[in-house]
Structure formats: structure tokens, C-alpha cells
Amino acid sequence: MGPGTLSIGEDVAAARPGGPPGPDRTSLSVRGGQALRAVLADRKLAVPLGVLALMVLFAIFMPIFWSHGPDKQDLINSLGSPSASHPLGTDQLGRDVLARVATGARISLVVATLVTLAGAIVGGLIGLFAGTLGGASDGVVMRVMDAILAFPPLILAMAVTVGLGIGLDTAAIGVSLVSVPWYARLLRSEALRIRSLPFIEAAHAMGATRGRIIARHVVPHMLPVLFIQMAAAFGYAVLALAGLSFVGLGAQVPTPEWGAMITEGLSYSLTGQWWISICPGVALLITVTAASMLSDRMRDLLDPRGQYARL
């Protein structure tokens, strides 16, 4: 994104002679409109965002308007191939696969969002305080984070799930836990970097309190990196939750969760009823890929070490 892309509107406004000095900030709707146009002009950003938006709409509205329920059995029409009344076919109990994939989208998106928020809040706060306070607390906290990182993430998530009792909720806790050290490490190093920038010393020289410096100058500059990490972690959470359910540690069998559905349909794939497993698999693939592309593009645009402060 070139430096001119976003500033054109401002320059035109600023060049208008004799305009009354308006409010200090451009109105929110104008800036929102500019941002939206900038996003739509950037295909690498617009495509994954659009795909995720469609997935959200699909998750919200499909189960409402689709005549088939996800749990409604119809044994006569079991293992039906895709047709007009069942576009994605039916499974071994005659349940509509499309309805189950849509309900599964709800589960995946909601739980992955919660996992991402939990990890971001806990890990972000740990990183912020470790990075701004420093000293012994920094050392202790970061060694704990290193200890968590020493385990392969999925194995640790499994161990937590098994320890707390198998289920989707404990799987979510396990995935959240393994994501915490990534946020903590990343945001700690960001806090350290920002803390050493001259405008922080300038705020100090003005007489700002430490709390004010952190809230007004450090945290806003950490947000881009936090958002990049959240986008990446969201994709990972969707995948990890499906993985745990796939091996039987997450959502349990009747639940239309994508990973559990893949397991359920797996044996039928061998006998030719591929749609039972493949459809939730494709939904999973689309969601995770979109989140990953979004995270990559956000890194290109927002990473302070690259082009910065344009958006």
C-alpha cells in the first residue's frame, strides 16, 4: 500500500481554503468509509475477510432458514448422495449434512472466537506487564511461558482436556492455554521495543504517569501486532478444536462439530459416501485458510518493522 492511498482525502480537505476549523478529528463515518474503501481495494485483504464474513453469515442464517434440522434423523434416506432436497447428502442416520455443517460452523466460529479472546486477553496482559514492569516478575513469568512452550501445543492441549474431563469446553480451555505463551512472548517484545522509542521518553519528560504512558502510548502501538497474532491464532484454534474432536477428545458424537463429523463419516468414505466427511473437511479448510491469509496480509500491512502507520 503506497503512502498516498489513504492520505488523498485528507490532503484535499486540508487544501480547501478558508474552511472553518472543525472538530479535531475527522468524523468517524468518513474515516470508516475511507478504511472500507481501502480494504476493498486490497484484494489480498478483501478476499479472506469476505470468505470469513460469508462463513459467519452461513453459520448465523443457514440453520435458521434451512428446513432440515441438524439432529433430525431420517433412517429411510440414510447415506443419501447429494440431491436437490439434501444438497450435501445425508449421513448414516439420514441427517442432513448441510444443516450439520452449518451448525458446526456456529460451534467452530463461536468457540474459536472465545478461545482467541481468552488467549489474547490473558497472554496480552502477561506480555504487557512483563514488558513494561521488567525485573524479577518478568523473568519468572517468561520462564513459565517457556515451560508451556516446551510441550508440543496439541499434545499439551490434549493433556489438559483429558485432565479436566473430555468435552468441547475443556478442549477450548486446553487450546486457549497453549496459545497464551505466544501472545505473551510477542507482546512482551513489542512492549520492550515501544518502551525504548523516543516518544515514550518525551511523554515521560512531559510528566506523564507510568499508567498513562502505557495506556496512551504503549498499548495503542501494540494493537497491530496483537491483531495479527489473533488472526493467526483464530485459524489455529479452529483447526486444533476440530483436531481434538477428531481424536475424540473434544465435542462428542452427536454434536455436529466439524472434527467429530469427519471422524463419524470416515468409515463411510471407504464405502463411497465421501460427502459425510469431506463436506465438514472443506468447511474447515476454507475457514482456516482464510484466517491464515488474513493474518499474513495483516502482517504485511501492519507490522511495525514493515510499512507502518498508514492505516
Binding site: P3, S7, E10, A14, G19, P21, G22, D24, R25, T26, L197, P198, F199, E201, A202, A203, H204, A205, M206, G207, A208, T209, R212, R216, H217, P220, H221, Y308, A309
Partner: protein
Amino acid sequence: MSEPSAPVEPIARQPERASQPILQAEGLSKVFEVRGGDRFGRKHPVTVLDDISLTVRRGESFGLVGESGCGKSTLARCLLRLLELSAGRVLFDGVDLTTLDRDELRALRRRMQFVFQDPFASLDPRMTAGAIVEEPLEIHELGDQRERRQAALEMLADVGLTAEQARRRPHAFSGGQRQRIGIARAFVLRPEVVILDEPISALDVSVQAQVLNLLAKLQEQLGLTYVFISHDLAVAEYFCDRVAVLYLGQVMEVADRSALFSDPLHPYSVSLLSAVPVPLAGGRARRTERPQPIGEVGSVIERPPGCPFEPRCPVGRGRDICRAERPPITEPAAGHQVACHFPGEVSVHGARRNGAGTNAGDGDGTAHPGHTETAAQ
């Protein structure tokens, strides 16, 4: 958009106010713990500022000059306790800054402000110019929101920026404009002392004079005291009433502008002045034929026990007393302090002041033993 640049000539001051001290350093030292140097990564101390005593008087412009690495910026930060001192104390209007707790110090910062060298990095890129100038008022809870905004806009107008420009972020401004935002931010609190850490050295030559004139104008309007840090002697000569010369974290010489630039007593000051190119009528520049310092700037890591300048000094190099004893600070003339065992042994007498190289035959670099009128003391 820009200040009309006035012809460059020394600025008149009000001498009647330039008497009582407002900022004093007493035995100020700063030691950094540096990791590394040996293969075990042990920390070892590096004395960056060594026993500095200075007095800045109310209403004056006090210059700090010296080569890169001599500790100018560190001293500036210690004077406002942006860095903690390792030893000594700093008195601001009689108050010892080193004894204040965090909140007392914060409250006092309203009266002492800092302008940073780097106008690009010292402004928060996410804030508008207006918000940046408003922030100090917000921090010190002065006025309500509307009054603060008004004060910020007026301050920006004082530095030549419009209300329209106040809505832009720093990246939309040029270097000179950004530095003026930094100046507005420091001055909006109406401080008594402003420390200017090389405020123009990061700017294009074409806007340096502009910013200097702005600073001079504001000083006159607001009756401010400046501590002006510069590695550029010509700028210090133009701008400062009194000048301190720093070398490797020690004060070599403090004097009034006229005394320092016409009759420097310390060999290091002489060397510094000799390094300034003198413009000739034909448009060529000529370096005066003066004693040059020998070799490179020394290192604060291997500080000699005696005079820090001894290894490079055209006068004292190899002399036992210079090598062994740190020279005491003497005052050979009123208000002219120098830390040298042999003050005035070399001079630039007549070389710069009589300008334009008209009498280049006078004083050809030989030592003037005695240099009677100042060394008599």
C-alpha cells in the same frame, strides 16, 4: 507555513534577569553498567559524566558543546532527572531534584521541559499534531477540554502551524514542521527552563535558521531559560549567552560567549574552534592554522587518571602533572572557568574574531606563553 528567516545575527538579551541561578548541577556523575567487554559478559561500570558542576542562570541561553560521545545528551537528561544520577545533585530553583519522589518530580516537570533531537521519533505517530500539543496540558490537568484545545491551537499558531494542520498526524509534516510541533509541545506548559537537545541538527540547513529564530522569539516572549546542546560551535556562538565545553564527560571550560570564542583558555576549546572553517571573501573556506588535537576522541571506557584531554593535548601531552592529576577548576577571569593546568598556553587570539582572514599573519599557531591578561590570576 514557514517563518520568514531573519538575517543571522546574535540575539540581544535582557541582562538584568540573568543573575540568579535556576538550574545547578553539583558534582553530577553518571555511571552506566555496560555488559560485555570480556567473554563472560560481566557488567562493568563506565563513567559517562564525571563530577560535573554547572550553574544555569535565569533567563539565559546556556550552551553545552562538545564532540559526539562527550555526554552532552546524557547530561541533559540528568539535569531533568530523566535519567537517575549516579552521584551529585541537581537543583532546580533551589529544589534538589534527586530527593523528590515520583509524583513531586512529575508535578515539577511542568516547569522544565525538553525538546528532543529527533523530530521524527519523538512524536507519537498515532496522534494528531493538535492532540500531541494538548497532551501536556491534559497530563497536568490544566483547564477544561475546550480550553486545552484552544491553548494547543494557539501554541501551534505561535510556531506557525494552522488549525487545519493540527488535525494531521506527524507523518504528514516535514522535519522542520515536526520539530516545531515538538517545540509547541514543550512550550505549551509555559515552562521556566527548556532543555534543547540538538534541536536543529536533524533538520535541513535551510530550516535550521527558521527554527533557531523561532526559539529566540519564544524565549523573548516567554522569558525562558534555555540549555542548548549543540555540536555546532557556530550555532552555539550565535545562540548562547554562556557556553560550557564538555570533553569525555567533564567540563573543560565555561565562559561567556564572547570570552569563549575570542579568548578560549583550554587547549581543547582552542582545538575545537580551530576546527571551524572560516569563510573567506572569495567564497573559499580555510581552516585556521592552529594546533589540532592529536589522534581520535578518547574513550570513556579507558579514562586517563589525569586530564581526560592529556593524550591529545598539544600543550600537556606527556607532561607528568597532566597525566597524573585531574586539573582543578580555576577562574582566571570573572565568570570564566577552566579546568586546565596550563590555561591559555595556546590561543586563537585574533584569528576568528577579526574574521575574513584579514590578519591571518597574526598568531600562527605558536603558543602564547602567559597570554597575560587572562592567565595572570
